[in-house]
Amino acid sequence: MVLPQGGGSDRGRRRLVLLVLTAITLLSLDLSGFGPLGAAQRWVRDLLHPIAEVAGFVASPFANTWNAIFDYDDLAAERDQLREELDNALGAQLAAEAERAAFRRLLEATEITYLPTIPTVTATVVRTAVGNFDEHVITIDKGTNHGIRPGMAVVTGAGLVGRVERVDAITASVQLLSDANLVIGVRLAATDEVGLGHTLPDDVRTFVIDRGLEWPEGDDGSLLPALDSVVVTAASSRYPAEIPLGRITDVYLDPENDIAMIVEVELANDVRDLSYVTVLIASGVDQVPLEPTPSTSIPLDIEVPQDPESDR
């Protein structure tokens, strides 16, 4: 039976208003990057991390059993896919032996040159998404204590995985490439053209470069990027180095813009299944690269006609 609360309603309403105002204040401070608030959150996460580790160890048999029961079909599909990829790799190897020159060029394009020069930190993925709306975020077991800072690139041997988003002392959150809102500046290896792209919301293995690329004049097919080219992130973007991203699978004219080119790329990484990642300990420019804007200045080699009025 519910007990009547009488005058408690007014107090409840006043308390609601106070709490809402508190929440709005916290939101405003957090959005404006108020340092102490971020530090307090980091402190809570760092404090609870060891307890969460122990709890995770205790709960792991249950979680593993659950995965074994309910993800069996996924595991079987993954095994079949790996088998198919192995077959493809063997076929590619044979083809490469027949075309050694092309194979050497491909190797040159895919060779990861950033690892020897940039310091790296290898991290273990300790958690995938915790909520229901953050499926593109993972947590790794390295943080500021290991030199990791927000904005750093996260890679595997195959290429880019994402970027460091939030860093605590001993953990960090990584925004994965599968997030369609993560815009990345890329360079096409075959043509050196630079554009902006993102993954598709319903297909996390496909990356679409839909800004910044122009369709070649005269529809010259020979100028189109070769389908076997490798796309790399541009050095001038928010990432510090040229990192492999994937292989071009399709190039077509933008249906909404007659002069723009859209390039589809199959990502080298499957970010849905990561156990270990590597963080490049180098800072990029923490902003989306801007598209080049046409210059409004008059080129030096153009003769400016004299104003006839000025001779009078």
Partner: protein, 165 residues
């Protein structure tokens, strides 16, 4: 043991279960949101005054781990808790089924509210058609969890909830 300490322990336990078990254990890709569930129970059992504080605290704790700005969940859960408490004031007959229905509706609304407020506060990716599916599944999961979580929450509240059960 005082009520605040018991509540703190229950919230901490809920957070740990959320961060460990429900990272892997998902139903159609959706996990229950235990802190949101505690907020609804708090409002249902102890009314709009202290229930609001419980909901706000639970939301704030959950906010620390979510990518959205601090305060989005606390804001949402405070509103939901107030609505639940006021609705409960008008009820004359309480039953387990009634509690489960309230939990189902309030939990679903909490998911939608989080997406809506988060979307307004700079995370537009939260506003997607999928949020209705998530809200529905979270509501069902929370309603199913009611018989398990309800006694725990009553213990944490020092038996106050028994007045309404």
């Amino acid at each position: 043991m005082s009520v605040p300490i018991r509540l703190g322990l229950v919230m901490l336990a809920a957070l740990l279960v959320q961060l460990t078990v429900f990272v892997d254990v998902r139903f159609f890709g959706v996990a229950p949101e235990l802190l949101s569930l505690l907020a609804v129970f708090g409002a249902f059992f102890i009314g709009p005054e202290r229930g609001l504080l419980v909901a706000f605290g639970a939301g704030l704790l959950w906010d620390v781990y979510l990518p959205t700005p601090l305060g989005v969940t606390a804001f949402t859960l405070a509103l939901i808790a107030y609505a639940v408490a006021r609705f409960n004031e008008g009820l004359f007959h309480d039953s387990r089924l009634q509690l489960a229905v309230v939990v189902f509706v309030a939990s679903g609304m909490a998911v939608l509210g989080y997406a809506l407020i988060g979307g307004i506060m700079g995370s537009p990716e939260l506003l997607r058609i999928d949020m209705f599916r998530i809200a529905l599944i979270v509501g069902i999961l929370h309603a199913l969890l009611t018989p398990l979580v309800s006694p725990v929450m009553m213990w944490a509240l020092g038996g106050e909830g028994t007045m309404r059960r």
